[in-house]
Symmetry: C2
Subunit: 396 residues, 2 copies
């Protein structure tokens, strides 16, 4: 937790040294000496604050299980049902798979993860327990936040609400939800239940909202109403929010203004094939936009590698960001914004911040985003947790 880092360039500034004590950045300066500390020469690498994977599914990845052909049909419901079936047939063990994915993330410089974890009447709390075990084993290496996520429906599958309660009494940190119209066909029922759980257990909320156009706008307005009514400002995130990419830009901007006023955050994957919330509109309104990989090589699709610098590139490409300052904002969406949404204090790369650091061979932040080179070194609170693109700890 104590280390002297020599020859690094925080965010591309001039080469300097950094003294880390008790997991925090104690001093940044030229030619620092600290004879009591171990020394790591960073060779002039660019130093970035830890990346934050703010939307993924640690319990679902097939990473390391050998290549399996994609089998799901085209609809959202096809993918959900296919996954429930294959989870058993293929023995997708939530502990083993979340360990693999979390260590993959660590190798790419993510020092914090918000993971949605399935809860349903088939698997019960097995997913939550598996990811909680991973969190425990990786404590001190990566922060993992668990969203209790009723993937197969909350109102439409009786028994799920009780499982959600048990998860929140246990290891779950955040109340999840999804498509209150599209999946549950009971927006009032689902959203009342989600906000009631959040109030009862004092937890934040993160709701998947794939619903497009006016349907999504309708659900979003119901979420906004409840955010205000429950005094949950700053504690609610809407993931995907495809409806904000609707063609009627005026309507979308009016929704964005409401999100800003209610301090509701947005999490995006920057999906190239779907309408998405525009980074520029959200930024102009002051809405926090964090980002994630979503599922990584799972039964939903073959893509994903847990690299949040590559995700920043995708976010930049999706939003046509070209100026360096705009690409730097895409980087922030993949680091500081996620930390803000997860409530991680001390995220940053100035004196006093937690020493969650990523070192890469790049000239500037934008250069790091567009080239997303292997991570030379990753530190979590001053501890070296990955080198040359690989976590120090072996995956199971």
């Amino acid at each position: 937790m104590d280390i002297l880092l020599k020859n690094l360039r925080p965010l591309g500034q001039e080469t300097c040294d950094m003294e880390v004590r008790a997991g925090r950045i104690a001093r940044i300066g030229k030619d620092l000496a600290a004879p009591d500390l171990p020394v790591e020469d960073c060779g002039g690498a660019l130093a970035l604050p830890g990346l934050v994977e703010a939307h993924t599914h640690l319990d679902k990845s097939l990473w390391g299980m050998g290549w399996r052909e994609h089998q799901a049909g085209p609809s959202l419901r096809d993918k959900i049902d296919n996954e429930r079936k294959l989870r058993k047939e293929w023995n997708i063990d939530p502990y083993r798979q979340s360990m693999r994915q979390a260590l993959l993330s660590l190798g790419h410089g993510s020092t914090a993860i918000r993971s949605h974890v399935d809860i349903d009447t088939d698997c019960g709390l097995a997913g939550i327990e598996g990811v909680a075990r991973t969190r425990e084993e990786l404590a001190g290496q990566i922060d993992i936040e668990i969203v209790a996520f009723p993937q197969s429906g909350l109102m439409s599958r009786p028994g799920t609400l009780e499982l959600m309660e048990r998860a929140l009494q246990g290891p779950a940190d955040v109340v999840g939800g999804l498509d209150p119209c599209g999946i549950d066909a009971d927006p009032k029922g689902q959203l009342d239940a989600v906000f009631a759980l959040a109030e009862k257990y004092g937890k934040p909320i993160d709701i998947h909202l794939h619903e497009p156009g006016e349907l999504g706008a309708f659900s979003m307005e119901m979420i906004l109403d409840r955010t205000r009514a429950h005094g949950m400002q700053g504690r609610v995130t809407i993931s995907h929010a495809f409806c904000l990419g609707m063609p009627d830009r005026d309507r979308a901007r009016a929704l964005v203004a409401e999100l800003a006023e209610a301090q509701v955050h947005i999490a995006t994957v920057a999906t190239p094939s779907r309408p998405v919330p525009l980074a520029e509109d959200l930024r102009a309104a002051g809405v926090v936009l964090c980002a994630g990989s979503d599922g990584i090589r799972d039964t939903w699709g073959p893509y994903g590698n847990a690299d949040m610098l590559e995700r920043a590139m995708l976010l930049g490409l999706r939003n046509n960001l070209r100026a360096d300052r705009d690409v730097e904002h895409a980087f922030w969406c993949c680091s500081g914004a996620g930390a803000r949404v997860m409530g991680l204090a001390g995220h940053g790369i100035t004196e006093g911040c937690t020493a969650d650091l990523v070192l890469v061979e790049a000239e500037t932040v934008t250069h790091a985003v567009v080239s997303h080179p292997p991570r030379r070194l990753v530190l979590k609170a001053g501890r070296i947790v990955a080198r040359d693109g690989k976590a120090v700890q072996e995956a199971p």
Copy 2:
């Protein structure tokens, strides 16, 4: 040009050996012996046919010139004018930069490149000459096709047409054009000139068409008319073709049917921020869709790395391709389709094909696309031209 490759898996099939003679795949089989040949053990790697970079700008990249902040304004015209200005100020040397980019491409497994090269009344033929010199120096390592490209306008900049003629009398292989309405504001004038040049010099055509919606459809119909009138079926490519991504899918599909009938090819970058031609529609109609990186880290934007496996991933993401067979088609767009458009005979990975080969650590073609790992080995007509992600030849 003669080599025995041991332990490779063509397109993910069973492990086998491959005997290469005179630059061609002479035999594929188990436990081949050829005592007269040098042997390369491929360690069970996946073998792919050479990737094809079918739309890029070799003369423009800033690769290796140190990081430079993006300066261009938002419009197409801003970018064109900014580039003409910086080309001189920054000394963007077409020979040096095309060498750098071509070797970068080679390191990522592209064995053929179609490059548009600027011609205008400022730079004259300097770009064409620089890229032609690169082509000559890299002969036998990579195929480079040069499109004479009037980036700043053909009709609107008197003198450009004469330069185009000189380029086509010299090293240029293809007649280029762009946005006959949007840039030249003279669609009849530009397209008549382009087709006349093609006829006079017996060359194929590749026209950038950024024009969206009905404007692009109007220009596309003029291109289709001239393709039929000049008997140019199979020899015309339209690059970008954003108009095919228009919201009116029926109108777009009618255009696609016309493209199929006239055997006009489409080149795409799979731009995530723009409407694009849909891979599925083109495939269903039988239109060849090839792909490219477009500009790589140039004055137009900071993105790009010349990795056509990553481009296949972007094409898959942009088109929401998830099934393995669909991702394999995205791979074909980035290899075989480009070879078809460039008229490269013998592209493939069966006996008798040219031994343009890429070896990667992956289980299947789809796995290679989604993980786009460093290329272990690249061969051009049986000659090893890159290892471990880097061209054998040093860049200037």
